[in-house]
């Protein structure tokens, strides 16, 4: 049954030419982000063979029969990182340029995957983290997909609790500020970050304190995110409805 490429045979004539050829391969790609050393990084693997030999690619692979795209993304990412380390996964967009792969047509649905800062997944030898501000030579349309994923992340940081998927279990406000700064790409004030996120109920203080300090300094309150799934906390930039009760 399996092991066959659908052979296009002209069985019947139809009103639309090529009606039988309307079958496509489809891949799921994961844009895996993690903040490391104060910079937002993306997981890429280096191609050993043409096309784009030596260039860097997003992890991913073909959609299987009976499989959903999200599950496919998870399955292929499992080859690179432990799946429980992916704290958030969401669909980004589907690329359909017929020549995005020079060999053969293949559609690609990209997913945004976020790994909390402290996780240190062990990676296959061909796979490493790259700062998104300094992407290496990328294969296919992957560089543009990474930029698009970054835009999505940037936007959602300001009106959702998506930071939960980038921050470790507990953290100080300073650490969270570094995470936000790295993801947004510009400096963020710890003072305001703390106030905004606590007022919105996005983060909450824990009983614990951070261990004093390496070279002095007041011990910091440890915070955690109140929820560990995506919540839109700031839906209306303008034109709010009269009484928006929860």
């Amino acid at each position: 049954m399996s092991h066959v490429r659908p052979v296009t045979m002209c069985l019947v004539a139809t009103e639309e030419s090529n009606a039988e050829a309307n079958y496509f391969r489809h891949e799921a790609l994961g844009v895996v982000f993690q903040v490391r050393d104060g910079r937002l990084n993306v997981l890429l693997w280096q191609r050993a063979e043409p096309p784009f030999e030596g260039a860097w690619s997003l992890p991913g692979g073909l959609l299987d029969p009976g499989e959903r795209l999200g599950a496919s993304a998870s399955r292929h990412l499992a080859a690179k990182v432990d799946i429980p380390e992916i704290a958030h996964l969401e669909q980004l967009e589907t690329r359909s340029d017929p020549v995005r792969d020079p060999r053969d047509r293949i559609l690609a649905t990209a997913y945004l995957a976020l790994v909390p800062a402290r996780a240190r997944p062990c990676l296959p030898p061909d796979t490493t983290w790259h700062p998104v501000d300094a992407l290496p030579d990328c294969a296919f349309d992957h560089a543009s997909i990474v930029r698009s994923a970054r835009e999505r992340l940037r936007a959602k940081l300001s009106y959702t609790n998506i930071g939960f998927a980038l921050a470790p279990e507990t953290f100080t406000v300073s650490q969270l500020r570094d995470t936000y700064s790295a993801a947004l790409g510009y400096p963020v004030s710890a003072t305001n970050l703390q106030r905004i996120l606590t007022r919105r109920g996005v983060i909450e203080a824990t009983p614990g304190l951070s261990r004093p300090a390496p070279s002095g300094g007041r011990p910091a309150t440890l915070y955690r995110f109140a929820a560990s799934e995506l919540v839109v906390t700031n839906p209306f930039a303008a034109f709010r409805p009269r009484a928006a009760e929860a």
Copy 2:
């Protein structure tokens, strides 16, 4: 008829089982919105045959070889509305539930398509507008796609100029308020709408005035949108960078 499935024949064995069966049909679906009679409407056609006989469907159809998804959406929508009447088209999301179509697996990429208020496209007999607040019985996952499209529209109205694709060429602030109210689903103040959109440079006054009034009233300034393609006008709900120059 068309719909000839690719005949699977055992040609070669490969390292990954089912590697050659990973071919899928793919359809582009259009969620066409227009504000009519003060309500947001969506274009649906009624199915004459099973499955979901009698239920209402989104316009769309199969992706062709060599065709991009956006072009495919346009091509299939052309059967329902004049393409120039679609002022904005953007990709929404891709659905991949293996059983979303009970007959055979088919992936679907949904597009949001907006038609300005005054256009009155002539429709095929099986196709009509339906208020999104009172959707009829819908086929497949189409009802949920419509809801998702509406959410996207709602969100973008507050931080982009996307209203340009729902409003006619020129309009009074009152008319624009009705458009926004319909799309958002709750009342909007004309006073504030005018101020917000002019301050952001989204709309601008034209030299013209609306004809006096039917039963009295001051003639209104005619406005137009400054741009006719999507512009994000209010990108930062919080955490704005220090100096965000254009």
